[in-house]
Symmetry: C2
Subunit: 357 residues, 2 copies
C-alpha cells in the first residue's frame, strides 16, 4: 500500500452534494422540503438536484432557499425500492445513477439519497470506486448513548471481515467521529463477547493487537461488549458487518418495544393518562433526544466521495439531517483524514497493511 506524497486536497468540485431527488417513500416532495431546511443551515452549499426536471421545477418554485441553492439536472427514470442492485446497475438514466456519476466525475463532492439501499451501495462502489488504500468500504451510522453520540461500523456492507478490514474500519470510524461528531480524540472499541484480551476469535484478537500496539495509543480502549453501545463507553464501535447489522437492529428493536409498551402504559387508565400529561414535557425531551430523525443518514465510507443514505421513510427534518452528515464530511475533509490515518497505520503496522491488499 502506498499513499502518494503529493496527495493534497482535490480541486474543489462545483457542487457540494448531488441529491437524488426521486429516492425514498415520499420523493420528491420530502427531499425538496429537506433541502429547503438544509439550504438555510448551509448557506454556502450548492446542490445538484437530479430527477424529473418538470416536477422539480414546479416544486422549487415554491421553495425559495432550495431554489437558490440547487441546480436541476434531468434524469428520466427512478430506481424503485424493490429493484435488485444488479437490475439497478443497468438503469443508466436513473436519478440515483446520474447523481452518482456527478460524484465520480468530480462535479460533486458527495451524494445523498433516500432511495434503494442495495442499489446505492452497489452503484457507489462500482461507479465512485473504493479509495485505493482501502480494502473494502463500510457502512457507518451515529446513534444515541448514555454518554453522547456513538459511531458504529460496519453495519452490513461486509458480512465477512478479516483483521485488516477491522483495522481499516477503526481508521475510518476515527475519521468519521472527528469530521461529524467534531471530536478531537475519539475513543475506539472493538466489539467482542468479553472485554478480556483472550476472548473472541483470532480475527478480533489480531485486529486488537494492531490497534493496541501502535495506531491509536490509549484512545483504543480494547474490547467492548454489546451493552457498551448504549452505555457510550467509547465513541467508535468497530465490528464486522454481520454483527454490526444485527446489533443495530437489535438495539432499535428493543427501544421500539419499550416505546410501544410505554404507549400502552400511558393509555391503560385515566390516572395513567393524566400522569402522562403531567410528565409530558420531560417525556417529550426524551422523545426528541431519541428521535430517529436526528440520527438519519448512514454513510458508505471508504469511497472516492461522500455517500450518505437517508432512511427512505423519513420526513424533511430527517432528510435535512442526512444532508448535515454529508456536509460535515465534505467540509471537514473526511477522506483526507482517512488518508492521514492510513499513513499512520502503514508506518505503525506495515505487516498487516501490506498483507492482503
Amino acid at each position: 500500500m502506498t499513499v502518494p506524497d503529493d496527495a493534497g486536497p482535490p480541486a474543489s468540485p462545483a457542487f457540494s452534494l448531488a441529491v437524488d431527488a426521486m429516492g425514498g417513500d415520499h420523493a420528491p416532495d420530502v427531499v425538496l422540503d429537506g433541502l429547503e431546511l438544509a439550504a438555510e443551515r448551509h448557506p454556502h452549499a450548492r446542490f445538484l438536484l437530479v430527477g424529473d426536471e418538470a416536477r422539480l421545477g414546479a416544486l422549487l418554485a415554491r421553495r425559495k432557499r432550495a431554489a437558490k441553492a440547487c441546480s436541476v439536472r434531468h434524469a428520466p427514470e427512478a430506481i424503485s425500492g424493490d429493484m435488485k442492485p444488479t437490475a439497478a446497475l443497468r438503469v443508466r438514466g436513473s436519478s440515483m445513477r446520474v447523481a452518482i456519476d456527478a460524484v465520480a466525475a468530480g462535479e460533486a463532492a458527495g451524494i445523498v439519497s433516500a432511495g434503494n439501499t442495495g442499489a446505492l451501495m452497489a452503484l457507489a462502489k462500482i461507479v465512485v470506486k473504493t479509495l485505493p488504500e482501502i480494502d473494502r468500504p463500510a457502512l457507518a451510522a451515529i446513534g444515541p448513548s448514555a454518554r453522547g453520540d456513538v459511531v458504529m461500523l460496519d453495519l452490513g456492507a461486509n458480512v465477512q471481515c478479516d483483521a485488516r478490514n477491522l483495522v481499516e474500519f477503526a481508521v475510518m470510524g476515527d475519521a468519521f467521529a472527528r469530521s461529524v461528531l467534531g471530536l478531537t480524540k475519539p475513543t475506539i472499541g472493538l466489539l467482542n463477547v468479553g472485554s478480556e484480551e483472550l476472548k473472541g476469535d483470532e480475527r478480533v484478537r489480531q485486529a486488537a493487537d494492531t490497534l493496541r500496539d501502535s495506531l491509536f495509543g490509549e484512545n483504543f480502549r480494547g474490547f467492548v461488549e454489546g451493552h457498551d453501545i448504549a452505555a457510550g463507553t467509547v465513541d467508535v464501535i468497530v465490528t464486522d458487518g454481520f454483527t454490526g447489522n444485527v446489533a443495530l437492529k437489535t438495539g432499535e428493536g428493543a427501544l421500539k418495544l419499550m416505546r410501544d409498551l410505554l404507549r400502552q402504559v400511558f393509555t391503560s387508565s385515566i390516572p395513567a393518562r393524566v400522569g402522562y400529561l403531567l410528565a409530558r414535557p420531560a417525556l417529550d425531551r426524551l422523545r426528541e433526544w431519541m428521535d430517529p430523525r436526528r440520527y438519519n443518514g448512514a454513510v458508505l465510507i471508504g469511497l472516492n466521495g461522500v455517500v450518505v443514505k437517508s432512511h427512505g421513510g423519513t420526513d424533511a427534518l430527517g432528510f435535512a439531517h442526512a444532508v448535515d452528515v454529508a456536509m460535515d464530511m465534505v467540509t471537514h475533509r473526511f477522506n483526507e483524514r482517512i488518508r492521514e490515518g492510513l499513513v499512520r497505520l502503514s508506518q505503525a503496522a506495515p505487516r498487516l497493511t501490506d498483507a492482503p491488499g
Copy 2:
C-alpha cells in the same frame, strides 16, 4: 452419527437437581432462600445441596421447606468469581465440582449454580460431557418480546460456528422451547442481516437450506433480523455465539438506557413526579413484565445432564426462577426431545449430519 435404537429414558436419578450452594454474590443465603421458594413450587423435587456443611445446616434449620427437600453434601472449597476456568478445573473439592460430579455419576439429573460462568461451562463440558450426537453444546436463555417469551441461542459458548452447529442449535432450541415454554410447535428463525434468501454468508445459507427443506417444515420461518428478537416474530432465534452474545447484551443495554432515562424523566420536576405516581400501577406491571429475575437462568444445552447458570447477583426470586427452568427441563425430558430431534435430523439431512462429526 448414530442414535442407538434402544435409547430409552435413563434410570431415574436420586436427586432432581444438584445445587451449588456456594456460587454467586450472596451465597449461600440467597441460594437457600431461593430453594425455600423452589421447594414450594416443586413439592416432589429432591435437591442435593453442595457446600460448607456447617453453614448450610445452620441456614436450613431456619428454612423448613428447603430442609425437607434437600440433602447436604459437604464440599470444603468454593470457586471464586474471578478464577480462570483452567484453575477451577484443578479444585476438586469445590462445591461446583462436587455438584457436577453428582450429575456425571447419574445421582442428579442436573445442576444449578450462580457461580463463575466460565468455570461452570468448562467443568460441565469436561465432567458431564457432550451428548454423543451433538458436536458442540450451546448457551441458551429466554427473554421477553412483544409477542411472548423468546428463546435465543448460542449466547457465547461458541464464537465460531459452522452450518452444522447452527442446525444442531435449532434442534436444541426447539426442544428447549417445548420443554420450558411449553410450546407444541415452536417457530424457529435463523438470525441474519436480511430476510431474503440470498443474504448472509455461506454458513447461514447452508443451515437455512437444511432447516427449510426438511427438518422443521413450515415451523422454520427462514431468516430473521435483529429487530425480530424484541418483536417476537419467532419463538426460537438461532445464531452463532459471537452474534448471539453481542445481540443479547446490546438489547439488554438498550433497555437499561431506556430505564435510566425514564428514571430521570420521572424525577425531573414536581409534575413529573406526580405523573409517575398516577401512572405507577401500569408502570409497575411493565417493570414486573420485564423483570430480569423472571428470565434468570441461562442453560448450557447439549450435555448429558441439565446445566443451568443463575445470574451471580440475583436474589431468592431470581434463583428460584433458575431452578424452575432446570426443573422444567428435567421433568419434560429435555434431552429425550433433543435425541428425537436428532433422529429426525439424521433421517432428513444425512449428508450434513454425517459431515464433520
